[in-house]
Symmetry: C3
Subunit: 364 residues, 3 copies
C-alpha cells in the first residue's frame, strides 16, 4: 500500500536521446510555428475565441411611412396605402389597386370564358372552358353585348381583374422611418439605431445613404429598391417583397461606438423575378358597408403591394475567462503534442500508416 502512495507521487518521465538532426529539428519547429500561428491568428484574433458570444438578440422594430400619392384622382395617405397599419417590422405599401365597388350578395355572370347552354342528362347546363372557382348556378347568361358567361352566385358584380392600371408613382419618394432597439440579454446591453451622434434636426432632414448617411434611420423607398438591385416601376407593377436587414455586430470589449447597425437590402422573393408562375405580390381585401335597410355591401380591393420585412440580427462578444483559458490550454497542449508525436512517428514502423499521415504530422 505504501509503495502505492510513493508511486502516486513519484514522477515518471521518458528517457530521451537528443538527435542533432537539423532537417527534422527545423520541420519540428516549423510545425509548432504553424500551430501557434493558427491559434493566435485564426482562433484568437479572427474567431475571437477569448469572448463569450450572445446571438439571441432581443429586438423591437417600429416603422412609419410618410408621403402622399395620387391614385384615381384621390390623394392617398398612410392610412390608405399602408397595411397592416400597426407600424411593425412587416408592412406593405400598396402601389396599385383594382377596386370593385358596391358588391352585394346575388347572382351575376362570371368574368370568364364565353359559355353555351348544353343539355346534360336531359337538363340545361352552362358549359364553359375551365373556370369553375365560383359557385355556378348552371345558367348561361348575358355578360355583355359580345358574349354570354356562366352565371354564378356570390358577391356581385364579379371582379374584373385583368384591367390594366398604372401604379402610384409617388411611392418612389415615400420615406420609411425605422426605429429599432436591440438588447443582448447575456450582457444586458441595450442600444438603438438612433446613435448618440444623431440629433433631432439631423433626423428631420437626412435620408439614408450607404456612403454619407449610413446611420440615418429614414429610407427613401426608391433608394431601398435600388440598393436591392430592383427596378421600381417593375416592382410597383407586379409587387414584391424587399428585405431591410439590420445587422448588429458588436465587440463590447471595444466600447460603445464599436456597436452600431449596418443596413443591407435584398429582394426576398427573388424567385418571383426569374419565374413566370405567379410573379409579384398581391392580395385581396374588402371594406364593408351597410345600406339603410341593413343589407351589406362591400368594396373588394385587389391590391398590388411592395412588402417590406425588417430583419434584425445581432452578435455580440465580450471577454470572458473561461473560453480564454480553455483555448490557451488547447493551444499549448497541441504545440506540445505535435512535437511529441513527431518523436513518436520517427520511431514508428514506417509501413503502418499512409503517407498523408506523415505529411499531416509534418514528419518525413
Amino acid at each position: 500500500m505504501w509503495s502505492c502512495i510513493t508511486d502516486f507521487f513519484t514522477y515518471e518521465t521518458t528517457k530521451s536521446v537528443v538527435v542533432k538532426s537539423w532537417t527534422i529539428g527545423i520541420i519540428n519547429r516549423v510545425v509548432q510555428l504553424l500551430i501557434i500561428a493558427y491559434f493566435i491568428g485564426w482562433v484568437f484574433v479572427h474567431e475571437k475565441a477569448y469572448q463569450v458570444r450572445d446571438t439571441a438578440v432581443e429586438s423591437s422594430v417600429m416603422t412609419k411611412v410618410k408621403g402622399f400619392g395620387i391614385y384615381n384622382n384621390r390623394v392617398m395617405d398612410v392610412a390608405d396605402y399602408v397595411t397592416p397599419t400597426q407600424g411593425a417590422s412587416v408592412f406593405c405599401i400598396i402601389t396599385k389597386l383594382i377596386t370593385t365597388e358596391n358588391q352585394v350578395q346575388g347572382f351575376c355572370p362570371e368574368v370568364c370564358f364565353p359559355c353555351a347552354d348544353v343539355v346534360l342528362s336531359s337538363q340545361l347546363v352552362c358549359h364553359a372552358a375551365f373556370c369553375t372557382n365560383w359557385i355556378p348556378t348552371g345558367k348561361c347568361v348575358r355578360f355583355n353585348d359580345t358574349m354570354k358567361t356562366c352565371q354564378i352566385q356570390g358577391w356581385c358584380p364579379a371582379e374584373i381583374d385583368y384591367i390594366k392600371t398604372e401604379p402610384m408613382k409617388e411611392v418612389e419618394n415615400f420615406t420609411i422611418f425605422i426605429k429599432n432597439s436591440i438588447r443582448f440579454p447575456l450582457f444586458d446591453y441595450t442600444k438603438g439605431n438612433f446613435l448618440p451622434t444623431i440629433n433631432k434636426s439631423y433626423i428631420s432632414s437626412c435620408n439614408f445613404d450607404m456612403v454619407h448617411h449610413k446611420y440615418c434611420p429614414i429610407f427613401r423607398v426608391g433608394d431601398v429598391i435600388q440598393y436591392a438591385q430592383q427596378d421600381f416601376m417593375k416592382l410597383a407593377h407586379k409587387g414584391g417583397v424587399i428585405g431591410i436587414k439590420i445587422a448588429w455586430m458588436c465587440d463590447l470589449d471595444r466600447g460603445d461606438e464599436h456597436c452600431s447597425p449596418s443596413y443591407s437590402f435584398t429582394r426576398l422573393d427573388a424567385m418571383s423575378q426569374n419565374n413566370s408562375i405567379s410573379p409579384g405580390y398581391n392580395f385581396r381585401f374588402a371594406k364593408y358597408y351597410k345600406m339603410d335597410n341593413g343589407t351589406d355591401y362591400r368594396t373588394l380591393v385587389k391590391a398590388f403591394a411592395i412588402r417590406f420585412d425588417v430583419l434584425v440580427n445581432g452578435n455580440a462578444g465580450k471577454f470572458n475567462m473561461i473560453p480564454t483559458l480553455i483555448n490557451m490550454v488547447a493551444a499549448f497542449t497541441s504545440v506540445g503534442v505535435v512535437s511529441l508525436l513527431q518523436g513518436h512517428m520517427t520511431a514508428m514502423p514506417r509501413c503502418t500508416l499512409p503517407t498523408a499521415f506523415w505529411l499531416a504530422t509534418g514528419d518525413m
Copy 2:
C-alpha cells in the same frame, strides 16, 4: 547562447523499446481503427465536418387561399374568411362565426346568470352570480320573459356567444397556395419552392401529396389537417393552429437538385387537444358603420378559425478548406496520441487510476 540556437534546431526523440506483444499490439491497432472509423464515419461522412454551414436562412413567404364557402346562406370568399388579408406566413381561415349585428353604445341586460335586486347599504344593487366583466349600472332588468339580468353599459345588445352554429364545411376543400423563396446569405444561394421541374400547367392542376406531388406548392386544407393527424370537423368547430413547416436541407456540393424543400405538418397548439381549459382558437373583431345622423354602430364578430403558421428553416453546407484541415489534423493527432498514451499507460504505476481509465485508453 549559441548552444541554445543549436538546441533549438536539434531534434529530440524518446528512446523506445519494441515489445513483441501481439495482444497489446492488436488492441493498440484496434483502438486506432476505432478512432479512424469515428472520424471518417461520424465526423466526416455523417456530420459533414468538411463543410461550412449556413443556418441563418433568409426567407419570404406568400400565401393565397382559394375557395368559396356558404355560411348563413351567404357566399363567402377570400376577403370574407381570411384574416389578416396580406397573405403573409401567418393567416387564419375563419370556419365559424357568431355575429352580433347593429350594436350601439347604450344600456342593456347582460347575457349572464339571472339577478335579483338586493339592498346594500340602503340602496338597491343588482346581485348576480360571478359575471362582472362588463361595466354594471347596478340595476336588475328584464332580459327575456323567463329571467332578469344585471344591466350593463357598453355596446348593446350584448353578444350571446353560446349559440350553437355549424362550421363552414367547404373549408376542407379550400386550397392554400404557398410561395416561398429562400436565400443562404453566406453562399449567396437563392432558391424557391417552385422547382425548375414545375411548369404553369402543372401548378394550375396539382395538389400537394406526400407521395406523388411532394413539390406541388398547392395544399388542400383537408389534406394539411389530415397530415397533422387532426380531425377536420373537430378543428373547424373549436379552431386551432396548424404549422406548415418547410425544411431546406441543402448540400451545395452536390448540385442544385439536392436542395429542395420538404414539407411537414403539425398541430402547433397541441396542448389544446388534451386540455379542457379554453380549447381551440377564436377571436373577436368588429366592423364599424355610421348612421346618417353620424352615430356609430358595429357588427361584433366572434370568429372561430384555423390559423396556419408557415415556418421555414434551412441548413446549407458547402466544402471549405479551414474546417476540413482542422478536423483532419484533429483526426491524425488523436490517432497518434492514443498509441502514445497506451505506451505511457502500460508504463504507469497501476494503482493510481480507476479501471474506467484503463478501458478508455484501451489498455489492460
Copy 3:
C-alpha cells in the same frame, strides 16, 4: 513484407525512468486533478455535455385581452382597443386616440405654421415655414380667426394631432391571457403553459405573480408593466413596446415537472426612454364609410398603444450516448496527454519556449 506485418502488430512503448521527485510528482497529479475537475464540474455537470440539445423549439402563441375601458364617454371593449384582432403573439392595446371624424377628399388649410402670399416668378405662392408633407395647392387660406395656413389637397379636414388627451386608465387593470404550446421536434416532446397542476377554477381566478402564481397564464397589464420597470401612465401616454418572454429550459432526463415555463418582462423599445427623438409608439389607421350618394368618407385615428410581443425560446437536453462517449474520451485523453507532456517538457531544451508555456503545462 512479413516483417511489416509483424511490425504492425508488435507494440512499441517508450523506455522510461522513474524519478522519485515529489515536487514534480505532486504538480503532475495536481494538474491532472484540475483537468478532471474541469471535465466533471464544468463540462459534464454545468454544461451537461452528456446530453443532445434541441434549441429549435416550435411554438404557438394565442393571446386574449379582457377588460373594459371608458374613453370619451364610450365604453371600449376588446374589439375596439386591441389590434391586430387575431390574438397572435404580437398585439397592441390602444391607450389613447386622436380621431378626426368625417374626412372627405377635398381642399382645406393644413394644420401648420401661418403662411403668407408671396409672389414667386410672377405668380402668387403660399409661403410658410418648413411644412411640406402634404400636397399644396399654393393658396394661403383662412385656418381660423387668428391665422392663415397653406391650402392642401387630400382628406379634409386635416388632422390636428397636437390636442392633449388623457389615456384610458382602465388599461392598467386589463388582463392578458396567454396560451403557449411548445414542441421540441428532436425529442418529439410537447408541452403547454397550462401545467397539469392548473385547473379551470384556478385559471378563472388567478393573476400572474412572480412569487405565488408563477405559472398562472393570466397577466394584469399593470403588473407586466411594473415587472418591466416601467411607469404605466408614462407608457400609456407615449406608447411603447413590452416584451413578454417565455423561456422553456428543459432537462428531459429529469421528468416532466422539470420542464416548465419561466416568464420575464422587458421594455423592448428601451431606446425610446432615454431618447428625445420620437419617443413612444403610435400609428394611424382609418375607418371607411359611404354616404348614400356613394362618396367615401373616413374617420382617421391616430392611436397611441402599448404593443406586447410574446417571445418564446426553449432549450431541451436529453442523455445521448454519442456526446457522452466523445467527451469522456476527450477527458481521459487530456489527463493522459498532460502527464505525458510534462515528462516531455522536463526533458526539453529550456530556452526554446516562453515561460507562459511552462506555466500552462504545470511544469517548472
